[in-house]
């Protein structure tokens, strides 16, 4: 237990901050994922074959390639890509992107592919009458989407989104290979300096279990809230 003390003698405060970092990365990543889903879900549902193809390529490639490989691509290729874009605008100095941004972008793109599939499934299972009714009533497009489709879609998508959240949370452990100090990286450092890997990795496992347990409880509450009236 001394190993977990707060302050200079133990690793308690470091691990606490690392847990917050894991949470921060997961939340940023899943929000980036939603952004991607917001772009690619309409493409998936559109009648245009070409747009369909783009969206299908995105989800198939991301879901068929290991997360670690995607993270390596971003880790080694990220600053190169940014520098290339900057050089178009006439900026030629070296740009270093920090591990937080690379990591949450890589995980965000992965979780975006899963979210896209979830949203697509949810929208497709909404009754067709709802689309037709709001058309007949002459609702404007934004109102049609935000007030009619979105609330129904969220209710249908929530159970699967909670799976996506779990996957995203667990995937953030892979960012430790880029050196971002989240739970895994901090445990690695602590294990290395105390020569007690069994304890620290088991403790990391407990932290992850806690995070998944608490988030499941919160999501269950949301599910109850959104299924009112059904």
């Amino acid at each position: 237990m001394e190993l977990l003390a707060f302050g200079k003698t133990g690793w308690g405060d470091e691990l606490f901050i690392a847990t917050l970092m894991t949470l921060a990365v997961s939340i940023t990543a899943i929000l980036i994922g939603f952004l991607f889903a917001l772009i690619f879900t309409p493409l998936k549902l559109s009648k245009n074959k070409f747009l369909n193809l783009i969206a299908n390529c995105y989800t198939t490639v991301i879901r068929g390639v290991p997360e670690l490989l995607v993270i390596y691509l971003f880790f080694f290729g990220g600053s190169g890509a940014v520098m290339f874009v900057a050089s178009i605008f006439g900026y030629n100095d070296y740009i270093e992107i920090n591990a937080f941004i690379t990591g949450s972008f890589a995980i965000g793109i992965i979780s975006g592919a899963y979210s896209t599939e979830v949203f697509r499934g949810a929208i497709q299972s909404i009754d067709k009458g709802q689309f037709e009714a709001s058309k007949v009533l002459g609702l404007k497009k934004p109102i049609h989407f935000f007030k009619v489709i979105m609330p129904q879609m969220l209710r249908l998508a929530l159970p699967n989104l909670s799976n996506v959240w779990q996957i995203t949370l667990k995937d953030t452990s892979l960012i430790s290979v880029t050196g971002l100090v989240e739970i895994m990286r901090q445990s690695y450092i602590a294990a290395g300096s105390t020569r007690d890997p069994l304890f620290f990795y088991s403790f990391a496992a407990v932290l992850y279990l806690l995070l998944t347990f608490i988030s499941m409880k919160l999501i269950n509450r949301l599910e109850i809230k959104y299924s009112r009236g059904y």
Binding site: R63, L69, S173, S187, P197, A205, Y208
Partner: protein
């Protein structure tokens, strides 16, 4: 685009694919056996056996695979009684550690898949067997198991693909699998996009094969 690098790295990556496939197939076989055992424990009425199987699947599904590999590879070697036992022959090798971690992980997911398949079998089928006077063992092996296998095929196909992606974590414990070799080539040549296209292409091809194999099996065993 550096086409030469893509062509020259292809054989190396293909060689590494063999290790990926070896890891995948061994851990799938062991994981399937574990999954069957634990799913039978899950539908057992004894609360202790039941809770144990639930705890196992909760732990392995609630923590990242990376943590599990690290606990087994870095953690278990710390215990004196493991170092002095015959288990150390396996646990000192990263290859076996990875296989143990993957098997336990996929075993947990497989047990959940099979459990839900067992639960969806209509009770009428089992009752029909009972009223025909068939022994409960035979009911289990000849009625419940074949139906459960068919029911769980689509979900199990997804699990195989997830496991294929999971084997990439073997590279974190010094194994040179497809991802490990890809990372090595990237870090020596600094050409991430080219290597990603080749390695990702191989992974996608494997996913494609698994996907179609499962589709074929689903068709064959549909009723």
């Amino acid at each position: 685009m550096d086409l030469d690098l893509m062509i020259s790295s292809f054989p190396k990556l293909l060689n590494a694919t063999l290790i990926t496939l070896k890891l995948l197939s061994v851990s799938l076989v062991v994981g399937l056996i574990l999954g069957i055992l634990f799913s039978i424990m899950r539908i057992n009425k004894n609360p202790i056996i039941n809770k144990f199987a639930y705890g196992y699947s909760y732990f392995f599904r609630g923590t990242p695979l990376l943590v599990q590999i690290f606990i087994i590879y870095f953690g278990l070697g710390q215990l004196e009684f493991i170092r002095s036992s015959f288990l150390w022959i396996f646990l000192k090798e990263p290859y076996w550690c990875a296989i143990i971690a993957f098997s336990l992980n996929t075993g947990a997911y497989t047990s959940e898949i099979l459990r839900s398949a067992f639960e969806t079998i209509k009770p009428g089928l089992i009752e029909a067997g009972k009223s025909l006077g068939i022994q409960s063992k035979i009911i289990f092996f000849k009625i419940q198991i074949p139906i459960a296998i068919r029911q769980s095929l689509p979900a199990y196909g997804n699990e195989i693909i997830l496991m294929l992606k999971g084997t990439s974590l073997a590279s974190t414990v010094t194994l040179m699998d497809l991802t490990g070799v890809a990372k090595y080539i990237i870090s020596t040549t600094f050409k991430p996009i080219e290597v990603f296209i080749v390695a990702g292409g191989i992974y996608l091809f494997l996913t494609f094969l698994i996907h179609n194999l499962i589709k074929f099996l689903e068709k064959k065993y549909s009723f």
